[in-house]
Amino acid sequence: MMFTSVEAVQDALAAQNYIAERSLATAIYLSLALHKPLFLEGEAGVGKTEIAKVLARLFDTELIRLQCYEGLDSNTALYEWNYAQQLMHLRLLEATGASRAEMQAELFTREFLQARPLLRAVEAGANGRAPVLLIDEIDRADEEFEALLLELLSDFQVTIPELGTIKAATPPIVIVTSNRTREIHDALKRRCLYFWIDYPSFDKELRIIRTKAPHVEPMLARQITAFIQEMRRMELFKAPGVAETIDWTAALIALDQNALSPEIVAETVGVILKYQDDINALPPESIAALLDRARLTADAAK
């Protein structure tokens, strides 16, 4: 399946319950059309990772996920030789009196290579169906790991010194996400399309809630959206993301609420704010004031 316009991407994403604004749909469309990785940056919980999952569903293909962490190296990200089997094979070769050159040729073959996510993504396209490769939270990995990615991202190939270069038959769809806890090197960004995902607007967030929780009372959905939008205007150490909005909606539905009240906000604030300082910054009188403003916005949006 190939898209022919930005609108088609936008509609297809919406059909998968992912509400994307036109700018994001454009970036995704271009990334697919140009076969370039998409580098998504933004605050935590704005739906970066979700895009990869949605694309995998959309194309009905495998999602290969690489969660980054400090110290991630080629053995865990790219490939590793199966040493135990190699050693066993070596003993067999010795018994047959093989020469050194034969040993070299026999020991380092594809059969002894264990593919890790990146190599798997390169090889998975062999059946003609491009997998989605998600390189998640790349800012958690160290700089050494970025260098490891460069060859893959520009040419969709992996070079193994003992074996040669393995090139993807069908290039994978690559999504790289970052929470911006550090700057990623330009060499890596240059190979990608860059998109900054912002917090959604009122209308977009309302649509997201309605999509994720179709049974929510319209009034409650509007109030939740307005309240969260008001909160993002406050100076918080960690403003609530869309993920928090969705969780909060689910929590309020589970508690059988039809509308927000100061008491229920105070009781469930742990769902949206995860720092003690932020919770302290929201005493009952602030909650009441926020709620008043949110009710006005919610009524106006009716």
């Binding site: 036109r22 970036a27 140009l34 940056e41 110290g71 070596l90 040993m103 911006r180 700057e183 960004k189």
Partner: protein, 411 residues
């Protein structure tokens, strides 16, 4: 050489699009964006895929290809609006491409540096006829000793130049941390991959046992320097100190603050200290203002903390502890800073002066939350600091309710 083809495969006839695209790419590059020729080729290919009639799509396409960092987005927007507009009349090539950068530069021109100590003359020669290279050799031992313990605030221009050389020779090396990466090296852990490869030359007999060990890296360093009015006498030398440190240590992020916080890491990258001072002078807007340490730390914690305090960073805060802001805020923010870095060191130029006690409100708020409390008054103090920084290793002393004071003068 290939010819640019239109959507129907025919060579692109007429149109100035490719030409304009190249011009626009150059404009963006001139504005500091990272545009390579292959980016422009990609853009040309991308424009084939979209509706050229939709300005918004063209904008999104070019933005996705040309912008690689969030802070460039505004600049790109401005450039796009200026460049891709309907020509007002037949004369449509008169857009002054430099004007964008100019307005941006002009915005910064709000402060002129206070050249109180060494006014550089027009010819670019050194003030007071002092030769940079000679100065470190000229002073006799006693002069050096004098310089070593001289208060930074009382130094003349020549002495500052000498002090700068001293700082550069101090051999800054930061404490290290163990990373989670492994490299070849002595340890008890066998490296299976090299084990196989290295022993193949012995016919598969395990003769050499290559091992691997934990990779050690220096810690990142974050400098936060107070440049408010009360620190004025020290500011110039402290900037020399920060410049020297930025050029000799591994990964340094530098900030200055008085009423607000300014990041000066990029300015400090200049090789020449004069270029650095000039740029810092123009980019910092609250030079010699009041001190609101709490607010400055607040914006550091919220905007930068998560981005620069990773990987076991050491933070140095340089301030005299005179603070006019809210002490409660200061307490909350300094404690957050301490929790987010591996070691928090407070350098105070007043500490070590006779009869100084950290009794001001600001100092009282800071003191319980710093790990080490050191003077930064003269070059001898800097030697102490070098030793302290080297000692930061993998074992952090227990965080007590009170800082570890290092005041005694190690002569």
């Amino acid at each position: 050489m290939s010819i640019y083809l239109g959507a129907d495969g025919a060579p692109y006839a007429g149109g100035h699009l490719l030409h304009n695209l190249t011009l626009f790419g150059r404009l963006c590059r001139a504005l500091g964006m990272n545009i390579t020729p292959d980016r422009i080729t990609d853009a040309a290919r991308a424009l084939e895929l979209i509706h050229l009639g939709r300005r918004d799509d063209v904008y999104q396409t070019l933005r996705a290809l040309f912008v690689t960092r969030q802070r460039d987005i505004d600049l790109f927007d401005e450039a796009f609006q200026q460049f891709w507009r309907r020509p007002s009349s037949e004369q449509w090539s008169t857009l002054d491409l430099r004007s964008l950068g100019e307005t941006r530069r002009k915005k910064k021109m709000q402060f002129l540096p206070g050249p109180e100590a060494t006014p550089d003359d027009e010819n670019g020669t050194n003030p007071q006829g002092v030769d940079d290279k000679l100065i470190a050799l000229v002073p006799t031992f006693s002069q050096q000793e004098l310089l070593r313990t001289k208060d930074f605030a009382e130094m003349t221009g020549a002495e500052i130049a000498a002090a700068r050389q001293w700082i550069a020779r101090l051999g800054w090396s930061l404490g290290t941390r163990a990373t989670r990466r492994r490299i070849a090296g002595r340890s008890a852990q066998i490296d299976p991959r090299r084990l196989l490869r290295d022993n193949l030359r012995y016919g598969g007999e395990m003769i050499v046992l290559p091992t691997r060990t934990v990779k050690i890296k220096p810690r990142p360093l974050v400098l936060l320097c107070d440049i408010s009015g009360s620190m004025e006498r020290y500011t110039r030398l402290l900037l020399h100190f920060m410049h020297g440190l930025a050029h000799s240590a591994y990964q340094v992020e530098s900030f200055v603050f008085s009423t607000r916080l300014t990041r000066i890491t990029r300015s400090l990258h200049h090789k020449s200290i004069d270029a650095t001072l000039l740029e810092v002078g123009t980019s910092v807007k609250d030079w010699g203002g009041g001190t609101r340490t709490g607010d400055a730390l607040h914006s550091f914690n919220y905007d930068w903390g998560r981005r620069v305090l990773g990987h076991g960073a050491v933070a140095l805060i340089i301030t005299d502890g005179w603070d006019r802001g809210d002490p409660e805020l200061l307490r909350a923010e300094i404690s957050r800073l301490q929790r987010n870095c591996y070691r928090l060191i407070w350098l105070n130029p007043l500490l070590g002066a006779p009869q100084y006690e950290p009794l001001t409100r600001g100092a009282q708020a800071l003191l319980p939350y710093v790990d080490d409390f050191l003077p930064i008054r003269n070059l001898a103090n800097l030697e102490m600091l070098v030793k302290e920084l080297k000692r930061v290793d993998w074992r952090r002393p227990e965080r007590s309710a009170h800082a570890h004071w290092i005041v005694e003068n190690t002569k």
